[in-house]
């Protein structure tokens, strides 16, 4: 059925009373906050993640890939930060840093009052109950030898979230229903499902921990157009019902913008522009954002053919050897001497609209 809008997203099967109860219960558990006074849940300051480039027998370090270089952002509870960028821009690395999958090179990350970078691996375990991740490839991320029920229960078992088999079964059933799958699928194996269904299972696995924050790393990139819309709608519905906060990483600006409250545009490890998602389209300031918007085709010939076309020359330079000055200067149509020498600072042009460009700063 195609007439159902996001807010009234209907599941493939109806929502049972049990799930409704679960949802109510969870909503009650969420700290009550006024919409105007949203609480900051994640704060990242000057995050740096450099990967060493090694050479020779003794793995001598000859340089660094600056995958993420001095990135700062904050996210309020119940909101979504979208991160867009091309391959190699460091967008996934940010997600992995927040999850503490890497030992970060520098910076501070505060999650819900906890300093993430100083948590020991043991402490991280309990953090991971609140902070989970859904990854891109639904084929690689599910263990082919486990049943759906085993997959979903992996987290709850570690965190001792149930005390009897019956309770475990309830969790699985509720989670499957929540993501729009038939609870009868619990004893099946991943290979019996299509890509979209597998992605739903991944989401169910993440939700089973009752997290408050999910890092979504390119979760719809491998899916077909109509399935993509289903998963995006599902994520938005679950967010609304459970008050979740997301980092939504992707390369498709239209999809990322649709789900996000604010969008960060990344290029070669740096945020070029960070602003509210409607403002990003209406008033893009950075030349890279403008090119990115222009490159994203719009499925309407009249609207699309009327737009200004900005084509970028060349390709993204190697992150091992980024250009001096502004990272974007090699492809920017406005680049001048200053851009090639000095790195632009992030400035606020008002309305929480942050841009890193000399040209914008000058005007």
């Amino acid at each position: 059925m195609i007439d159902k809008k996001t807010d009234a997203y209907s599941l493939e099967i109806g929502v049972s009373d049990e799930v409704k109860e679960l949802i109510d219960e969870r909503i009650e558990q969420q700290p009550k906050v006024e919409k105007s006074a949203r609480r900051e849940i994640l704060r990242v300051d000057n995050l740096k993640m450099y990967f060493p480039v090694t050479k020779g027998l003794f793995k001598r370090t000859v340089g660094y890939v600056k995958a993420v270089d001095d990135v700062s952002f904050r996210i309020n509870q119940g909101e979504t930060l979208g991160i867009v960028g091309e391959s190699g821009s460091g967008k996934s690395t940010i997600g992995n840093c927040v999850m503490r999958n890497y030992k970060i090179t520098g910076g501070h990350m505060m999650f819900d009052g906890l300093e993430l970078e100083s948590q020991t691996p043991k402490q991280m375990r309990s953090v991971h109950k609140k902070l989970t991740m859904v990854t891109q490839d639904p084929y690689a991320s599910l263990d082919p030898r486990k049943t759906v029920s085993d997959i979903i229960l992996e987290g709850p078992t570690i965190h001792k979230m149930y005390s009897s088999k019956g309770e475990a079964r309830d969790i699985v059933g509720q989670m499957l229903e929540l993501v729009g799958l038939n609870p009868k699928f619990a004893e099946r194996f991943p290979h019996e499902f299509s890509g979209g269904q597998r992605q739903r299972i991944s989401i169910a696995r993440a939700l089973a921990l009752e997290p408050s924050f999910i890092v979504c790393d390119e979760i719809v990139s491998a899916l077909d157009v109509s399935i993509q819309a289903q998963i995006v709608s599902l994520m938005m519905k679950v967010q609304q019902e459970l008050g979740l906060t997301y980092i939504f990483i992707g390369h498709d600006l239209s999809v990322v913008r649709h789900i996000s409250n604010q969008v960060a545009v990344m290029y070669l490890g740096k945020i070029m522009e960070l602003t509210d998602s409607d403002e990003l389209y209406n008033r893009p300031m950075h030349p890279y954002t403008q090119a990115l918007i222009s490159a994203a085709p719009i499925p309407n010939p009249t609207a699309d053919r009327a737009r200004e076309r900005i084509l970028l020359d060349g390709e993204v330079p190697s992150p091992i050897n980024p250009p001096k000055g502004c990272n974007f200067c090699t492809r920017c149509r406005f680049a001048d001497e200053r851009c090639r020498q000095e790195e632009p600072e992030m400035i606020d042009v008002g309305n929480h609209h942050l841009v890193a460009c000399h040209r914008v700063a000058g005007n």
């Binding site: 195609i2 807010d7 077909d224 157009v225 819309a229 913008r257 309407n300 009249t302």
Partner: protein
């Protein structure tokens, strides 16, 4: 419209599995005119690639087999040609660009040698002349320092450059038809725009017909002259992009358009979804509408009869028994 150069008539390409038959292309007909850009859109498993691979007779047998139909290239049936004749046509009159340039290129041959190959075979050039031509071709597709680049191997090229080298190779013999199977899916957004623009420019310059196979509706809206929407091995709607995007009649086309978030509209413009999953092709009964199980207009008629392509307007056809009922949804489109 200029003369038709390729006419596909009632093409049936089936794949045989142990227990089932997949009708990947089921009674498919379309025409390509000189210099035209035809887009075939569909989701994975809709048979869009098979419909193009059949034209080049590149369907592996077993398991695939062209069962029936005609593919007329300048009035000559490609399906009746000998393998040698076909070989001569491939790469010279009709050429192809594949989705994944890194797997389509030979990793142990230099880019130059790969481009020379078709020049030497089809145009009978000597190695030296062919190499000169290869440099020119690379220059034409905007590869910097083509003199050095021809001596390099594919791994030394980035994804975008590999795809441009593929385009150079495909255009080397001035083909009349260029088939591009998801040419930019593996590329980054800004590089995607470059490659498509390049492809379109070359097409316009040399008056080559371009058949572009894609799942990206935006690409279709931007470049196509004519659009075929495929679902379950059949064309469900066809017309020019204005017909398809602004006046779609088939419930699937409408659903597909609504499922793509629009960058130019405010976020409050909700995303609609088509429920369910694309069908397993081997499970679609012969006489039924393939979209019936996901369609909200479906009636018993849809499950028992196959809707024929019917004329909506001049050049705009739709295969749906209930296309008049979709009016409200059609008007809700922006």
């Amino acid at each position: 419209m200029s003369e038709p150069i390729l006419e596909v008539r009632h093409l049936k390409t089936y794949f045989f599995r142990d227990d089932a038959v997949m009708r990947a292309s089921d009674d498919l007909s379309y025409t390509v005119h000189k210099g035209e850009c035809v887009a075939i859109v569909g989701e994975s498993g809709s048979g869009k690639s098979v419909s193009a691979l059949s034209v080049l007779r590149l369907i592996p047998y077993p398991p695939g087999l062209v069962m029936d139909g005609e593919i007329l290239f300048h009035g000559q049936d490609l399906l009746k040609m000998s393998d040698e004749e076909m070989q001569e046509l491939r790469g010279s009159k009709i050429s192809m660009i594949f989705q994944e340039p890194s797997t389509a290129l030979n990793p142990v041959m230099t880019i130059g040698n790969q481009i020379c190959e078709s020049l030497m075979i089809h145009r009978g050039l000597k190695k030296k002349e062919a190499m000169k031509e290869a440099v020119e071709l690379l220059r034409k597709v905007n590869i910097p320092n083509p003199e050095q680049r021809v001596k390099q191997y594919p791994f030394e090229f980035s994804g975008g450059m590999q795809q441009r080298a593929m385009i150079a190779m495909a255009m080397s013999c001035d083909p009349e038809i260029l088939i591009a199977d998801e040419p930019t899916t593996a590329l980054d957004v800004t590089v995607q725009a470059q490659v498509l623009e390049q492809l379109n420019k070359l097409r316009a310059e040399s008056d080559t017909a371009l058949i572009i196979i894609t799942h990206n509706l935006g690409v279709v809206a931007r470049y196509a002259d004519s659009v075929k929407v495929m679902y379950g091995g059949k064309i469900v709607e066809e017309g020019n992009p204005y017909d398809i995007f602004e006046n779609p009649h088939h419930p699937y086309t409408i659903g597909l358009i609504n499922a793509v978030p629009r960058l130019d509209l405010p976020r409050s413009h909700g995303l609609h979804t088509i429920e369910g999953e694309p069908p397993d092709m081997s499970l679609i009964p012969v006489n039924c509408c393939a979209f019936a199980h996901r369609c909200r207009y479906a009636t018993a008629e849809c499950r028992e009869n196959r809707p024929p392509l019917e004329k909506v307007n001049e050049g705009h056809y739709c295969a749906c028994f209930h296309m008049d009922e979709t009016q409200a949804e059609r008007e809700a489109l922006v």
